[in-house]
Symmetry: C2
Subunit: 355 residues, 2 copies
């Protein structure tokens, strides 16, 4: 009996606003017969082990429109959703990938993924050196795009300087917690905002931020006046919209705004309903730099190697704490994803699909 379960999560409907588990997603009980599967040239089959739960996936669930959110292809209704994962090669017709190899790349929200030759180039091997010191779950995001996102953007765009102040929004997410900790290593005053008192505790007591607050309980403008008395030199923005507008009022001359994401705007389907930012005049008045980036801008650059070197050293000597929550089972991916979008996670959500 070579037929195996290959449950997968398919897109049932384009979410309106915040996705809903039952309305927008469906678990398809499919099977796969690996032994009798005929692979075309250079194709291979992956057994998926860990999946990273990332905000950018929300954008791929939109109805395709003339929208400017072009940085990922949209998932058609009825098809398996995609995300970044770590997998084991279980069958291969591609000389580069051998059975047993551990690889990283864009897989489906499913137990097994059939990878066609034309996207094989987008898979790379799990770094065996790093694997000695770190669990496999770290390789799905933290040691890949997740960690590199924080490191490269903070160093390259933020240009952290000792004694300056950084304000990080959604500071308890993977990106935020790493940005804050790296900024501490660089000698900055680190201020974070997050959505629950539990997370504020985590930022202050575990990550040792200089200040942190629950944005749901304060007036942001007043909180920034209180916690950033010398103004903001780097605003690390994961939120966009009104939060960006308020932060711009606190930015010092020559401040850098690193725009990692605009999570406040992702669930807004109608572009006219997005928040309109009225104080970009501050950019001129204070010579402010606002820069967006995608982590792929940094792939293959020197900074990727510097990241691997620094991050392993910082983990080993305890300078960086990395908090993740591992959730079991492909059937729990939609809930993990929606919870993450609703800010329920402390640290990084990773789904364990198989051992």
């Amino acid at each position: 009996m070579t037929v195996k379960s290959n449950k997968g999560v398919i897109l049932k409907a384009n979410p309106k606003g915040t996705p809903e588990v039952d309305k927008d997603f469906e678990l398809a009980h499919r099977t796969i017969d690996i032994e009798n599967l005929n692979l075309e040239e250079n194709d291979f089959v992956l057994k998926n082990l860990y999946l990273s739960i990332d905000p950018y996936v929300r954008i791929t669930l939109q109805e395709p429109t003339s929208s400017s959110l072009k940085y990922d292809k949209k998932i058609p209704i009825g098809q398996v959703i995609k995300g970044l994962g770590v997998s084991e090669v279980v069958k291969t017709n591609n000389p580069k990938f051998k059975v047993g190899d551990l690889v990283f790349g864009a897989i489906g929200w499913e137990e097994y993924s059939y990878i066609k030759s034309d996207i094989a180039y987008a898979f790379s091997f799990v770094n065996k050196e790093l694997l000695k010191d770190t669990p496999l779950s770290y390789h799905v995001s933290f040691l890949r795009f997740g960690g590199l996102t924080s490191y490269a953007s903070l160093i390259d765009i933020g240009k952290p300087k000792e004694g300056e102040t950084i304000y990080v929004s959604t500071a308890a997410g993977l990106t935020g917690q790493l940005v804050g900790q790296i900024a501490k290593i660089k000698g900055m005053r680190v201020v974070g905002s997050t959505g629950s008192d539990e997370k504020v505790d985590f930022l202050l007591n575990e990550l040792k931020f200089d200040a942190a607050f629950n944005y749901k309980k304060v007036d942001l403008d007043k909180a920034l006046s209180e916690h950033c008395p010398n103004g903001i030199d780097i605003y690390y923005d994961n939120v966009g919209g009104k939060a960006l507008e308020v932060a711009l009022e606190h930015c010092n001359r020559l401040a850098r705004v690193v725009v990692c994401g605009m999570i406040s705007q992702y669930n807004i389907t109608n572009p006219d309903e997005r928040y309109g930012i009225k104080n970009l005049n501050n950019i001129v008045a204070n010579s402010i730099n606002i820069q967006g980036f995608m982590v792929t801008d940094y792939i293959g650059k020197d900074i990727e190697k510097e990241f691997e070197k620094d991050i392993i050293e910082w983990i080993k000597n305890g300078k960086i704490i990395y908090k993740e929550t591992v959730i079991d089972g492909v059937e729990n991916i939609p809930k993990a994803f929606v919870d993450m979008l609703n800010g329920k996670n402390v640290g990084k959500y990773v789904v364990k699909i198989a051992d």
Copy 2:
């Protein structure tokens, strides 16, 4: 008889919206007795020769508020308005400045300015080397902040690359015309927008832009699709607001937005009435850099010397055309200023106050 006329333009009222010559400005018929004037230590007196007419002055006419437009001090009602000018030292108690010296700095909209020692540091000498090849009027802006603004921001922030496309708004103003011409020298496709058919002609036929259009007569979105078929790599923004929002939709990956000014927003006194930009998500989607600057960021840097070297060479060998309109008489400053804000100028407005 040593008493001389010292007419000056004072601020009569804080303009609401676009300033009005008669409502907001008043010509004060004052006199000055230079011979019998007692100077305190390190003070000096200037006879003003040329005044530069610049948009930034509009901001200094606002009522002082908690507004974020902090980059210039507000002019109190009843006081002489300030601007950048070239002047001759006519009396001095400051060993650095001798009678007959030609200097550049912030003077009053008046015939003579009394300069106190505490702001003497902000005056510098007209470059005599450059004066051999250029009229004195060029030294009030073009060879100073005006030209340096275009050069430094385009090179430092815009990073022009051969074959790329630049779109310049208010392209017929001093900044725009220089930016466009330098971009041509750097091998770019140069597209400009401006507010009259006469100026479109000027951009196409005199400055040799690749494309130009009258923004009052077209739909900006369609015009950009037509004239920037390969998208925009540099948007040189003098306008802000809706124009910035539309341009962002045409920006390529890794585009640079140089924010020189937001003239569309300067006349809006109530911050709530400013235009709200809703598509900053493009910054993330396309790794776009939006950067503001002030020309003073570049003063004393290497790029200032490079500018002087390049600009003189370009003028001498005819690679750069500089168009200015010289208006006579201190009493005509308010009209020149209002006309400039209303876009009536082709090229740079300079007021000749005296020979």
